[in-house]
């Protein structure tokens, strides 16, 4: 399977007054055609920065891409100029954001916002673009698309707006869709519909999807491959079924255990103690050492950062002897 | 036996009264530009209020022999000694430096009194309207609209004819007009804040409206208020000049920076120093006021020092 996106050793840092924040540290990930790849992590883990830096969407300065490559259809996204990136953004790579309430302009009709990428990237005339817009709304399951095109965002509910955002992202038939917590701001019953819609469209159109989320349950539902990030680094990466059946890294296991739904009532909830480390003063060894309870803390590396190691075919894990369940193969 | 074991390193810092203002003062002192500007402002005030006493010249005595003489001209005093007109003299032969100092007294007072009046009324009024909301807010803001619609000049002429000419009255009149915009700015800010959860939490604690306003709301609108106040100072100084021009403000032989600049502008081609020196005082004061104001705003923002 050829990779649509191949990120190698991406390093992003933010240079602030309080020092250098290493937001993303040597992250590599591959997205195959038609694949859904999840990036899971808590806020501050670097999952969003990873994707935003690919599209040139982090403010520079203070942000700085320190190294790595991101190959996308023969182009290295990290080396493109802003102008070249603009051509890629919104036409070959699209994004959906978390909050459908703020990502639409309240003063413009849904229709004119929806067809904007078409007019911009494909140079369609107004009538043709409008027709494609109606088709796009129909595709994401919005009833009466012709009248809906003429309405303003406030006339849409949250779930409907997210559908519009998805329609807008897919209207140019991109090769890659980056979805940043697309269901977090939605109600549970709507969440499910939106997830189903993304899954369905992805299958029909064969798009590759990068799914950023903090919600393991969502990942479990939609992703083929899961990357778990902690403190700016990948700690584990595997096929979803494999990861959920045999989570190897202590952080992944701790995350799974802390889902309230999986716990018995009456017992205290399992918690990961403490807080994620400050990214401007990262410990020299395993970043999870201070909080880790599922593994053997005493064995954690303290002198150097554990490298990623493939411990089973396609299953990569940060090779910290204290964190990896069942020890490391030698 | 004490239940509270206060770590020794903390003890000096634990002063329950350590307020926003004390913290702000500590932060302000670290802002060298703002501190320097503060010193310049103090210097300007001292020059204007102490300077005329030390000056050998009486700013009201004319000397037609020395009309519009350039900076550095010497003149013999009544006691026979010679003294220098550092900034030259004006079109009636009066010492310009002394006139700038005397004019500064008027201008600085206008700036201070009128801006303070605008601040006090504007912040209290705007915050009350914005926090209470509903019908109270509607009535209070319609009143502001009505005052806005009233022509300012007629308002001042009315006041002066009713109470006679007095500088204090003029300061108050200017302040009474400038607070309108201030109250609108504050109201808009407070409306946003009043819905914040920390204000609801304060209400849940059963705090009185006054405590909520002064402790939780007003400190959070100080940023824009300070910025607007520093913009108000030049506005009121210029307003004073306009009123004086109409014969409603300071009267000759008194002067203010506004009237001096006005005079200077008419004689710009023949005697440029008449414009340059008063304008320089005016600009330096405003410049320092802006930096000091920005410094104060940053110092009051508890997040300012961090990132």
């Amino acid at each position: 399977m050829s990779a649509v996106l191949d990120v190698k050793d991406l390093q992003v840092s933010f240079h602030t007054r309080n020092g250098v924040v290493r937001a993303v540290d040597r992250v590599s990930l591959k997205v195959g055609a038609g694949q859904t790849v999840g990036i899971v992590g808590e806020s501050g883990s670097g999952k969003s920065v990873t994707c935003y830096s690919l599209l040139g969407l982090i403010p520079q300065p203070p942000g700085r891409i320190e190294g790595g490559t991101a190959m996308f259809g023969g182009l290295d996204l990290l080396k493109l100029s802003e102008k070249e990136l603009q051509k890629v953004r919104g036409s070959r790579i699209s994004m959906i954001f978390q909050d459908p309430m703020t990502s639409l302009n309240p003063y413009l009709k849904i229709g004119s916002q929806l067809v904007e990428p078409l007019r911009l990237h494909e140079g369609l005339d107004k009538a043709a673009a409008w027709k494609r817009g109606i088709a796009a709304l129909k595709e994401v399951g919005i009833p009466e698309p012709t009248t809906r095109m003429e309405q303003y965002p406030h006339e849409f509910s949250g779930g409907m707006r997210q559908r519009v955002m998805i329609a807008m992202a897919l209207i140019t038939r991109p090769e890659l869709l980056i979805a940043d917590e697309p269901t977090t701001a939605l109600d549970v019953t709507i969440q499910q519909q939106v997830l189903d819609l993304i899954k369905d469209l992805q299958k029909r159109l064969g798009i590759a999807v990068v799914f950023i989320t903090h919600d393991l349950a969502v990942v479990h539902e939609v992703c083929d491959v899961v990357n778990v990030m902690y403190a700016g680094r990948l700690v584990e990466s595997a096929a979803a079924a494999d990861l959920f059946a045999h989570p190897r890294h202590a952080y992944t296991r701790a995350l799974m255990r802390s889902i309230p739904a999986l716990q018995k009532k009456g017992e205290p909830l399992y918690t990961i103690p403490g807080l994620p480390p400050d990214l401007s003063y990262l410990p020299s060894g395993c970043a999870f050492r201070a909080r880790q309870t599922p593994g053997r803390q005493a064995l954690c590396l303290i002198d150097r950062q554990p490298p990623l190691q493939e411990i089973a075919p396609g299953h990569w894990v940060q090779a910290c002897p204290g964190c990896v369940e069942g020890g490391l193969p030698l | 036996m004490s239940t509270a074991v206060i770590p020794a390193t903390l003890a000096p810092a634990i002063r329950p009264g350590r307020s926003l203002w004390q913290d702000a003062w500590a932060r302000l002192r670290k802002n060298h530009l703002a501190v320097a500007c503060g010193f310049v402002l103090i210097a300007v005030v001292l020059i204007c209020f102490v300077g005329p006493r030390l000056s050998p010249w009486n700013p009201e005595v004319t000397n037609l022999a020395l009309k519009a003489s350039p900076p550095g001209t010497m003149e013999t005093l009544a006691d026979g000694s010679m003294a220098k007109h550092w900034f030259g003299t004006d079109t009636l032969g009066r010492d310009l430096l002394t006139r700038i100092m005397r004019g500064g007294q008027v201008s600085l007072m206008v700036g201070l009194v009128a801006t303070s009046v605008a601040l006090l009324i504007g912040v209290a009024y705007g915050a009350t309207a914005g926090y209470l909301g509903g019908r109270t807010d509607a009535v209070m803001m319609r009143f502001v609209d009505v005052l806005y619609a009233l022509p300012f000049m007629i308002f001042v002429i009315l006041l002066t004819t009713m109470f006679g000419k007095s500088m204090l009255l003029m300061y108050m009149a200017i302040g009474a007009v400038e607070w309108l915009t201030m109250s609108r700015i504050v109201r808009a800010q407070v409306q946003g804040l009043a819905r914040q959860e920390f204000v609801e939490a304060a209400r849940s604690l059963g705090l009185s409206t006054a405590v909520i306003l002064f402790r939780h709301i007003i400190p959070n609108v100080l940023g824009p208020v300070i910025v607007y106040a520093t913009l108000t100072v030049p506005a009121v100084m210029l307003l004073e000049a306009a009123l004086s021009f109409l014969g409603l403000g300071v009267q000759p032989p008194d002067s203010s920076w506004g009237t001096l600049i006005d005079d200077g502008a008419t004689n710009m081609e023949t005697s440029p120093w008449l414009l340059i020196y008063p304008a320089a005082f005016f600009s330096i004061t405003l410049f320092c006021l802006n930096f000091a104001g920005d410094g104060l705003r940053d110092a009051l923002d508890v997040r300012g020092g961090k990132d």
Binding site: T189, E221 | I14, A202
Partner: protein, 261 residues
């Protein structure tokens, strides 16, 4: 009397804009809470659960109905009495970034909450009380000297809980207290709330859209839909066999629950 909090046929309506009809956000809700009970209130955004909690907190006037806390009808109190009564019920808000005054140190925030009940305290007494509160919510006493922006979301939520506990309330309303937090922090806060409610014998109304959290925490659960309570029951029973159509839909949609199979 076993009924600690009685919500009796409470309605809140907001006037419609222009010619739009009035919006009935809370529509004749009746609930009772026994002392020491944790009641979960579940529903989607816009169902009226936040309006109801604000109405109980007397932050939002009722259009009709009554709210009776320990036999005292709160809507009959005048301003001064209400301000005194407020100390008995406190709220933990959803957004830990908006619920703390950014310009007050943690000490000032907590001291204010404590002194709302006790009146002015001397410096050392006040410090002792603040320190005790911080300890209770699992924070270091050094936190008192800092400002809210120096803390992470989870730590702020602990501070917000400490403030709510400051006036020693008997009823705590928690409005989505964990939904803005990361998973690993969520469980810390849930454990804390549970521990506090036992230690202090708090009665708690726990409002959430997250069924898995409510299932874990609440003794009884009420499902709210379009301003009405559509189902009320023992949490375990309700989750195992929901009766109302809407409860069924809500349960079916929760992705976290399906992971168990």
């Amino acid at each position: 009397m076993s009924d600690f909090l009685v919500i009796d046929n409470a309605s809140v309506s907001f006037p419609g804009r222009g010619r739009a009809p009035a919006n009935l956000a809370v529509d004749g809700v009746s609930l009772t809470l026994a002392k020491g009970e944790i009641l979960g209130l579940v529903g989607e955004s816009g169902c009226g659960k936040s309006t109801l909690s604000r109405a109980i907190m007397q932050l939002q006037p009722l259009t009709s109905g009554r709210i009776i806390l320990e036999g005292q009808d709160l809507s009959l109190l005048d301003g001064r009495q209400l301000r005194a009564a407020r100390l008995n019920f406190q709220m933990v808000f959803q957004d830990p970034y908006a619920s703390l005054n950014p310009r007050l140190t943690i000490f000032s925030t907590l001291a204010e909450a404590i002194q709302a009940r006790t009146g002015k305290l001397s410096g050392p007494a006040c410090w002792t009380a603040v320190e005790k509160l911080l300890e209770r919510v699992g924070l270091d006493p050094t936190a008192a000297l800092k400002y809210p922006h120096e803390f992470s979301g989870g730590q702020r939520q602990r501070i917000a809980i400490a403030r709510a506990l400051g006036p020693e309330p008997r009823l705590l309303i928690a409005d989505e207290p964990v939904s803005a937090l990361d998973v690993s922090i969520q469980s810390q806060i849930i454990n804390l709330l549970l521990k506090l409610s036992r230690e202090l014998q708090l009665t708690m109304l726990f409002v959430s859209h997250d069924l898995s959290v409510v299932r874990y925490l609440a003794d009884r659960t009420a499902v709210m839909h379009r301003g009405k309570i559509v189902e009320l029951g023992e949490t375990e029973a309700l989750m195992a066999a929901p009766q109302h159509e809407y409860s069924k839909a809500l349960l079916a949609a929760a992705p976290a629950l399906r992971m168990r199979h």
